[in-house]
């Protein structure tokens, strides 16, 4: 007998053939085993088991080895049932997603959708081939087993159950069904109705004398009868209170405003201190109104207006939006440092939709820079326009109610959607000034603000204000905001502060209170007046300008008064110096005015005389 000559060879072939078939079937029907195989296939090495029948399948699962052991009697058939387990209706609820065991415990139905039968059919009585024939026989048997396995491998992918297997193999989805397998040496016959929906295919047996290897499959031709559907992984959740939603509270829809307010509060803290250095922005276009703004005003300027504050409050109390960005917003509000860390999160956060809040247009007009909409956290707000008349228009609401909002509108330029990346030179200049001045104010404030520019760049919270302030160009916008805010309050504060249109860079013009200085100026003026007649008209004008420059303020401290003699020689009526030292009354002012008139007439007459002289000289 062949097996007597080669006792183990045929048995080995049959045994390995059964194992290989089992491996092929399970790896293309059982998702868990398939994943294991995929991992092992990634390795380039070829295992000993892979070499059998020249089909690399990867590591055999341990369960398979156990099965092989239990079915070691090669003469017994190996029946592999692929069973479709369908979970009951109650098991498909969402709750079961959180309690998978509940799904298993629920009612489920099992249906055999495929049955593979592998059997070495060996007759009891057979002929004994010779040695040479046997050797050739083993090779042929082995080759035919390879061919059978190839065809079985292909057919596994063409049967209906393969689609279900592929669905279950998707880890991203859960279903109300599952595929399990059962391997046994016997099989329960199908019922009549089960057989009706099934079809049988018999692979051509491989002659392996004394017997033959037979493989057959009985499979359901269609699986559409079963209600196979994916389980809902997460209940659909519609977020209605997203930032920018028109249905949400306008205040709440801009949580960035509160945050912006908080963020702004950092520098404002420094500004709130009474000892803070008065803000000065010696810039010509600011018209000098900004000088000497008390910090208190700045505080209210930099702080959030009541409108913002009210919006802050509900935001503070209420939980942030349920979305991820909401959490980021929450993080954003904690501190600038956290803002810095949260910047990356902001960058990843989905962009806010352009706020459709009804309040947005109002803010866009510049009334409320904190609520200025910035449609994209990536688009920096442009530098505000210089405080021209247009800007003044935006500022007028500020001036009317300084407590309403604290910041000047960036929107004049931001609403224009200028290329914000371009910094205006004036802005840079003002920024530098501001920084220099603010250096001592609140290092923790502005510096923090500057240190975390990125934090607020893309944040909607600042409602564009900070994004405008701290865009790619960074801080200059802060300077602008500051200056413009100061300008707004300057309107309110237009009090006794001396403002001289000509005093552009000279900051101490009005502060001279020294008597010596006055006397020096007076003498200087007298000396200059003596030369009036000799100099040209331009010189006279220059003298007049200087006179006006050195003129003391109307409200002069009594200590500045001097009874210094006004009896100075002067040629003309330029001796106005006396007027500087008299008590300031209306009459004095009138007299001074008259003296100025006389001086003017003198100058004019002198200029006329000079012209005559020149003509005479000619």
């Amino acid at each position: 007998m062949e097996m007597d000559r080669e006792p183990g060879k045929l048995e080995q072939i049959v045994s390995q053939f059964r194992s290989k078939i089992l491996h092929v079937i399970l790896e293309s029907r059982v998702p868990s085993l398939h994943h294991q195989q995929q991992e092992s296939l990634s390795l380039s090495r070829v295992r000993k088991t892979d070499k059998w029948f020249n089909l690399v399948l990867g590591d055999r699962p341990p369960a398979l080895e156990n099965l092989n052991f239990s079915l070691r009697n090669l003469l017994d058939p190996m029946v592999i049932d692929i069973i479709l387990v369908r979970h009951g209706p109650c098991s498909s609820s969402v709750d079961n997603l959180y309690a998978p065991s509940a799904a298993a415990a629920g009612p489920s139905t099992e249906t055999v959708i495929e049955r593979w039968v592998v059997q070495y059919d060996c007759p009891r009585v057979f002929a004994t081939p010779s040695g040479a024939e046997a050797a050739v026989s083993y090779k042929k048997i082995y080759k035919k087993c390879i061919l059978l396995l190839r065809s079985l491998y292909s057919q596994m992918r063409l049967l209906p159950a393969y689609r279900i297997f592929r669905q279950l193999s998707l880890l991203s989805q859960t279903y109300n069904f599952d595929l399990i397998y059962k391997v046994s040496s016997f099989s329960h016959p199908f019922s009549r109705e089960e057989e009706d929906g099934m079809k049988e295919y018999n692979f051509t047996p491989v002659e392996a004398p004394p017997g033959c290897l037979c493989v057959s499959v009985t499979y359901r031709t269609t699986l559409s009868d079963f209600n196979l559907e994916p389980l809902v992984s997460l209940p659909p959740k519609i977020i209605t209170d997203y930032v920018g939603s028109p249905t949400t509270d306008p205040m709440r829809s801009f949580p960035s405003s509160e945050r912006g307010a908080h963020a702004i509060s950092f520098p404002s803290r420094g500004l709130r201190s009474p000892s803070s250095i008065p803000f000065q922005r010696p810039h010509s276009w600011s018209s000098g109104f900004h000088r000497g703004i008390p910090p208190t005003k700045t505080q209210s300027l930099a702080g959030s207006p009541p409108a913002y504050r009210t919006s802050c409050k509900p935001y503070d109390i209420s939980s942030p939006p349920a979305d991820l960005f909401g959490n980021r917003i929450q993080n954003h509000r904690v501190s600038t440092l956290q803002q810095a860390t949260a910047y990356d999160e902001y960058k990843l956060s989905p962009p806010f939709s352009p706020s459709a809040s009804p309040s947005t247009p109002t803010y866009l007009t510049g009334a409320n820079p904190l609520l200025t909409r910035h449609c994209s956290e990536t688009a920096p707000v442009t530098i505000p326009l210089p405080l021209t008349g247009r800007s003044t228009r935006y500022l007028s609401p500020n001036s009317s109610d300084p407590s309403r909002h604290s910041l000047p509108p960036l929107s004049p330029r931001s609403s224009k959607h200028d290329a914000s990346s371009q910094e205006s030179p004036s802005g840079i200049r003002s920024y530098r000034k501001i920084e220099a001045l603010r250096a001592g104010e609140s290092p923790s404030g502005l510096s923090n603000l500057y240190s975390a520019p990125k934090v607020v760049r893309d944040s909607k919270d600042d409602s564009g204000r900070f994004s405008g302030l701290l865009s790619s160009s960074g801080s200059p916008r802060i300077g602008f905001s500051r200056s413009s805010s100061r300008l707004s309050f300057q309107d309110d504060m237009d009090d006794c502060e001396f403002s001289c249109p000509f005093d552009v860079d000279d900051v101490d013009v009005s502060d001279s209170s020294s008597q010596n200085t006055e006397s020096k100026k007076a003498s200087e003026f007298t000396a200059q007046s003596n030369l009036v007649g000799k100099k040209s008209q331009d010189a006279a004008v220059g003298i007049l300008v200087h006179l006006l420059r050195t003129a003391p303020p109307l409200r002069q401290d009594s200590s500045c008064y001097s009874t210094h003699s006004l009896k100075t020689e002067y040629d003309g009526g330029v001796g106005m110096a006396s007027g500087f030292f008299l008590p300031r009354k209306t009459a004095d002012a009138l007299e001074e005015l008259n003296s100025y008139r006389e001086m003017k007439d003198l100058l004019l007459s002198k200029s006329g005389t000079q012209a005559v002289r020149k003509e005479g000289m000619k």
């Binding site: 020249n54 080759k143 035919k144 190839r150 065809s151 292909s154 057919q155 992918r157 063409l158 692979f203």
Partner: protein, 217 residues
């Protein structure tokens, strides 16, 4: 040795489906004839819900794609024609006639004929386009017609694959023994040439080489 011939069922395909259909069929055949050590590679078709298996040899895949490209070019020049692609497996035998030098000849032991009927003019769309031919009346009916047609092609392709599997199972004796270190048997893919007559001549030459041509249904 007999030359087993398998005439596969004719498939009615559109131009843009040629590549996928041919890839599926040719690779399936070669996989069943790549009896060396292979690492099977599952490939999902894009146009149909069918998964076929490749033997994983990169060189083979490249050659098959080249042949498919040539075929598509031929189809573009000969539109609306029934075409046939022949996949042949042969053995290299060295003849040693005493009056000639050593000469090798090919002994074809198996031939597969893939019959395609390309139904659409190739100029209407590219091979990779997924659009069907110009529909005079676009709308739901066109979409339904397209989907039903697609289902028919898929079913036909599935039948062809089953046909291959059945043929492989039923005919095993003519397959030559496996050589050591050889992954797949030498093969040849023949596409229609520029003229039909030349194609016929190729067939005659092949028959002469094979020695005992047997047309099995």
């Amino acid at each position: 040795m007999n030359c087993e011939v398998c005439q596969l069922k004719e498939l009615e395909v559109e131009h843009f489906e040629i590549r996928e259909v041919l890839r599926c069929i040719l690779h399936t055949i070669v996989f069943h004839r790549a009896l060396g050590l292979v690492r099977p590679k599952d490939v999902d078709l894009e146009l149909f819900e069918i998964t076929y298996v490749q033997c994983g040899d990169v060189e083979l895949e490249k050659k098959i794609d080249e042949k498919i490209d040539h075929f598509i070019s031929w189809v573009e020049k000969h539109p609306n024609k029934k075409s046939q692609i022949c996949l042949s497996f042969y053995e290299v035998k060295s003849k040693q006639p005493f009056w000639f030098a050593n000469k090798t000849e090919r002994l074809y032991w198996e031939q597969w004929y893939v019959n395609l009927n390309v139904t659409q003019h190739p100029k209407h769309h590219s091979s990779k386009s997924h659009h069907t031919k110009v529909v005079v009346d676009p709308g739901e009916s066109a979409i339904e017609e397209r989907s039903s047609r697609r289902a028919m092609v898929e079913a036909s392709l599935r039948e062809v694959l089953f046909q291959i599997i059945k043929f492989v199972n039923e005919k095993k004796d003519h397959v030559p023994p496996i050589s050591e270190g050889v992954i797949y048997f030498p093969y040849e893919i023949t596409i229609p040439s520029s003229s039909d007559s030349a194609f016929g001549m190729d067939m005659i030459k092949r028959m002469l080489h094979s020695g005992h041509p047997t047309m099995l249904s």
